[in-house]
Every structure is written in structure tokens, then in C-alpha cells.
Point group: C2
Chain length 334, copies 2
DNA sequence: GTGAAAGCGCTAACAA
DNA sequence: TTGTTAGCGCTTTCAC
């Protein structure tokens, strides 16, 4: 990489002259400016980012910590973050906590050494079950702002972007009930994380309000989803509705129904949290609760960048943005 | 963030003493060392990464450019890269080219300013169709090594990690033929990228060798996969096998078969490039061609880090590693 | 209009 | 054993 020094030497001027010329300073003469710029262009000069970061005490880099990159929703949020960050001249350093508290702590620690200006993260499962939040508070007190999305810790003071999980399943369940479904099962493989719990509660409330009994099928890591759904159908012949808290179980619920001569949606309606690209995996296509993942990511990035630009201005004035889900009807519901 | 300067001041010693003490230099007295370390620990001192990078002229950061984060395979490779990089003390800056040549160029340009020590990337679709490779060559000539994976440019001299795409579909097709399948269709939504073409050729060769006619269903962006598969089944009643170049069409091929009273795998066998977690989306589960994505990512990271450590040593001595696929049988094939 | 010098935080060669 | 100094690449104040 060419440096200012080298350009200065070749031109027989001082380093500061070159720097100013490149930054269009009025101090420098028209002619000199032109000469400098030409040479710089010919060498494809680009100011060294590291030096700039050191000088300006900010990196224009955001640390993103996500629990699981193979989760379609989280990947999509990451996409949204990346795009929005780029628009504002920021890069993102990605860490995958893999649902582990330790890895989450490590990542936070490791990047809190000047590598990034702030964080965007969704909390690891283990962190939520152990209810640990000190590492977040510490990071914030070190002057590094955090924006949490989806799985958030309400006891940490920071900006947040969340989904209306409770209402989403509440409404989805109600819509099934409105179509005369009576025996609706809730299927979830995320019952131990915050959003999973909220979704279950939304379902429960809707069912109880209508005087209907609730039934929950919990799928654990390592379980065979197809087997569990199969057994469910075998045991309870009168199931006529499924609300799924994750994308996999909704798809499986539809495809497996046919093994039991249940027509979808005539005999059984299925709706689940998912995205368009996954909904085509079932025949008929799954009616989904869309979370607008990209928008969530973009919003999180906006909040962080705003805070970074404001300096300490908006201290103690934190936003919680709720991005509403949308029920997108396909052929798996009436 | 605490700096050496502040620690030095508080201890009444010089900056270099503090630096040496923290780096366990033998030069510094036992006692001083202890005092320094204690104070540093109490302040949770961490050396400023940016200053270190500037000083040592390397960032311990890898730029990763992937075409599509929502592609399960690519996301999994990213996971592998991240983990391996972390093991070696590297962070990753992720850019998503979104299959765009321009964004790919921009990312390369933008990070080639000292932000990263090298790149790991898979080539964007547009870049492949336009067959552009100059931006890669330029980056390399600037002293930033590149490792390409999956979709690679053979004309660029750099390390590569690829899949045995041709053999994978060749073998998969052969295995269907061995079970007396005669009318096997190849379905692909990636026929315009390098790996897609190779996969199609593997299928073609296997079919032609056996004197069987070939048939390819191409699915374009924006097409309704379910509709296209449906029409295919409607028109050609005797289809008894499907080889899919991507994960979606394989899953759809299975789930849709039932609409035509075709039993899987009795009447029709389906095999496709995919991963375990997606294969459960079909009933019965899809027999998959596993690509070992995490391993690919890890290998790519290893190659890059090796090269970074070797300096210019292994110049002009580039590796192409082939990570063999594995055919994992499920219930969608005999 | 141009240049010298300080300083961001750190390491390391050299001096004391 | 400890301190001084230079320098990584850059911006910016201040002097000329």
C-alpha cells in the first residue's frame, strides 16, 4: 500500500501538503492539489484505515454477535444489518456465539479493545437460561453501545428491536379458531428462549379465551422432528390445527399430515413463524408469520449508528422498537 | 479504555516499562511486573487493537465475501470460517455481495485499505456470467492473498477449496440407475454458476453412458418452484427419478410427488444437494449429497492463515483442495 | 500556500 | 532494571 509519505517524497512536498490536497483543503494551491491527486490516483492510493481509526478513535466497524448463523431468520437479520451498515460507511465483524454464553462473553471481550465502535446482538440461549446480563452491562459501561434484537434482555439499558411475538401467535391462533378449528396444537423447538415463551403464551391466551384446551409439543435439540409429529398425529386423531413457533415444525406438520390422510387445509390448518423461501418446502405452502427480518436488522443498525453519531447526547434515553409481524396466508390455512 | 500511558502515570513509571511488564519481558523486575499487572487487571486493561495493527502492519482480520447469506450452504461455510479463524486469533469482516459484481468489487476495494490481511470468498453469480476476474488479480497484486471456495475462478492464481460437483451428481445419478430408474430428471435453479454447470454435466454423463435420455428442468429466480415441478410431473407421467442441484427443488420434488399419487421412493427416487437440517423438510426425508460446508470453511481459513504466516515464502505455490461430497441415504431413495 | 510538529496507543531498539 | 526515543500512517494546529 502506498502511503502519504511516499507520495510526498515523489512529489518533493511535505506529507501534510499531500494530506491536505487529498482532502480538498482550501489551503493548498490549485495546481499542487491537482498534481497530488493525479499521482495518488495513479497509485490507487487509499488512506490507511487503521491509521485513521487510531487517529479518530473510531473504527467505523460494528460488532455483530448472533447465536446461530444457520437459523434463517437470524441470517436474514444479519443481511439487513450488513446492508444498512454499508450504506453508512460501516463494516461489520461477525461473531457466532453458537448459543454459548462463554463464546458470547469472549466475543464481547475480544472486540471491546478498540476493534469496534459498538455492538448489535441477539442473546445466546445459554445466556437466557442462566439469565446472565453482567457482560452486557460491563460492555456498555466501557462506552460501547449495544443494540439488542429479537432475543433481548429487558434488564439491560440499551436500544432494542423486537418482534410482537405474543400478539403474533395470539392472532394466528385466533384466526384458526375463527375457522372453527377446535383442537389446535402448538409446536415449538425454542421453548427455552424468550421469544419462544412469548409465542407460547400468545397461543395459550387465545385458546383459553375461547374455552379451548391447550396442547404443546416441545421438540428438543437432537429430537427427530418427523417422529415426534408422527406420534402426535397418531395419538390425537382429531387435531385440526397447528401453530408453529419455528419454521421447521410447521413445514413438517404439513408434509406429515398426508401420511395420515389428513388434507391440508381441509382437515387441518397449519401456520408458523417462517419466511417465504422456506414456506415453499411444504405442499401446500405454509401460511407464515413473517418477521421482516431484514427490516429488523436495518433498524438495529440505524439505532446503533445514530447513537454513535450522537456521542453521549442521548444518554439514558433508550428506544425499544417493535417490528410487527405480518400473517401471510398461503394454502395451508382456510 | 485505559491506555498504557494512564497506567504508567498512575504507577509513576514509564510507558515502556508498563508495556514490557505486561508482555512478560525479562528486563523488568519481578516486583514491578507484579504491580503493573495488578493495576492493569484492576482496570481490565486490554491493548488497543488498532494501535497494535498499525504498529505490526497486520490486523488479524480476514475479509469474507459471500454471495448470499440466506443460502444454507454458504452460511454454513461462513460458520466454519468463523470458527477456524477464531481458533487462530482472527476475526472476520463479512461482506455480502448479493450476487452482484459491483458489490463484490466495492467490498474488495473497501477492505483493501489495511482493514484486513486477506480474503476468503465465493464468486458472485454476475461475476461468473460476465467472467470478470481483474478485481481479484488486482487485490492479489496489492499483496492481499485470496482463498476462493465453491465458486472459484480457475484463471486466478490463488488457493482454492472446491467440491467434487461433477462426480457427485455423476455418482448420485448412477446410483439411481443401478436401482432401475430410467426416466431421471435433473432439476436446478443454479444453472448459470460454475458449480451448477458441473453438476449438470455429471448427471448428463451418467445418463448418456447408460444410453438414457436426459431431461433438465431449469428454475429461474422468481419462478414458482412448486408450479414448475407440478407441470413437469403432469406432463411426464413416467418420471421415476430426480437429481436436484439445489436443496429446495429436491424437497419440493418429494412433497409434490404425492399430489400425483407417486410413492417415494417406490415410484420415484429423489436425491439432491442439501444438508441434514433441510432434508427433514420433506416426507420422507431427502437423500442428500452432503458438501461438508463447515469443513470447507475451515479448510479455506487454514489455507489463508498459513499463507499469511508464511509471508512471501510459498509464493506462486497454490493449493486446490477438493472436499469430497458424501451421499447420505435417507428414505427418498431405494 | 506550504511545512513542521504533535499526537492517537503501542512496541522495541537503544541509552542510561 | 528502567527510561528515552523513534516510528507505524494519518490529521490538524500552528508557524513560516
Amino acid at each position: 500500500m502506498v502511503t502519504l509519505k511516499q507520495l510526498a517524497k515523489e512529489l518533493g512536498v511535505s506529507i501534510s501538503t499531500v494530506s491536505k490536497a487529498l482532502n480538498n483543503s482550501e489551503e493548498i494551491g490549485e495546481e499542487t492539489r491537482k498534481k497530488v491527486k493525479e499521482l495518488a490516483a495513479s497509485y490507487n492510493y487509499k488512506p490507511n484505515k487503521v491509521a485513521l481509526s487510531l487517529k479518530q478513535n473510531r473504527t467505523k466497524t460494528i460488532g455483530v454477535i448472533i447465536p446461530d448463523i444457520l437459523n434463517h431468520f437470524l441470517a436474514k437479520v444479519l443481511f439487513g444489518i450488513e446492508r444498512e451498515a454499508n450504506l453508512h460507511g460501516y463494516n461489520i465483524i461477525t461473531c457466532i456465539s453458537n448459543e454459548s454464553l462463554q463464546k458470547e462473553k469472549d466475543s464481547l471481550q475480544l472486540l471491546a479493545n478498540g476493534s469496534v465502535d459498538g455492538f448489535i446482538l441477539s442473546i445466546a440461549e445459554e445466556t437466557q437460561t442462566k439469565n446472565e446480563i453482567n457482560h452486557f452491562k460491563e460492555t456498555i459501561s466501557q462506552g460501547l453501545p449495544i443494540v439488542m434484537f429479537d432475543r433481548v434482555a429487558h434488564d439491560v439499558k440499551c436500544d432494542k428491536v423486537i418482534v410482537d411475538d405474543f400478539e403474533a401467535t395470539y392472532n394466528a391462533t385466533k384466526s384458526l379458531i375463527a375457522k372453527k378449528r377446535k383442537h389446535i396444537v402448538f409446536i415449538s423447538n425454542i421453548d427455552n428462549i424468550s421469544v419462544g415463551k412469548l409465542r407460547e403464551r400468545g397461543y395459550n391466551k387465545a385458546m383459553l379465551e375461547e374455552g379451548l384446551g391447550t396442547q404443546v409439543l416441545r421438540i428438543k435439540k437432537g429430537d427427530d422432528t418427523q417422529q415426534k409429529v408422527k406420534r402426535l398425529y397418531k395419538k390425537y386423531k382429531d387435531i385440526d390445527g397447528v401453530v408453529s413457533a419455528d419454521s421447521t415444525s410447521g413445514v413438517v406438520a404439513i408434509n406429515m399430515a398426508r401420511d395420515f390422510k389428513k388434507k391440508v387445509p381441509k382437515d387441518i390448518s397449519v401456520v408458523g413463524f417462517s419466511s417465504k423461501s422456506v414456506s415453499v418446502h411444504s405442499v401446500p405452502k405454509l401460511t407464515i408469520i413473517r418477521q421482516h427480518a431484514k427490516k429488523i436488522g436495518a433498524k438495529a443498525a440505524q439505532l446503533l449508528i445514530e447513537r454513535l453519531n450522537n456521542g453521549a447526547a442521548s444518554k439514558d434515553d433508550y428506544t425499544t422498537k417493535i417490528v410487527k409481524t405480518t400473517l401471510v396466508k398461503s394454502k395451508s390455512t382456510l
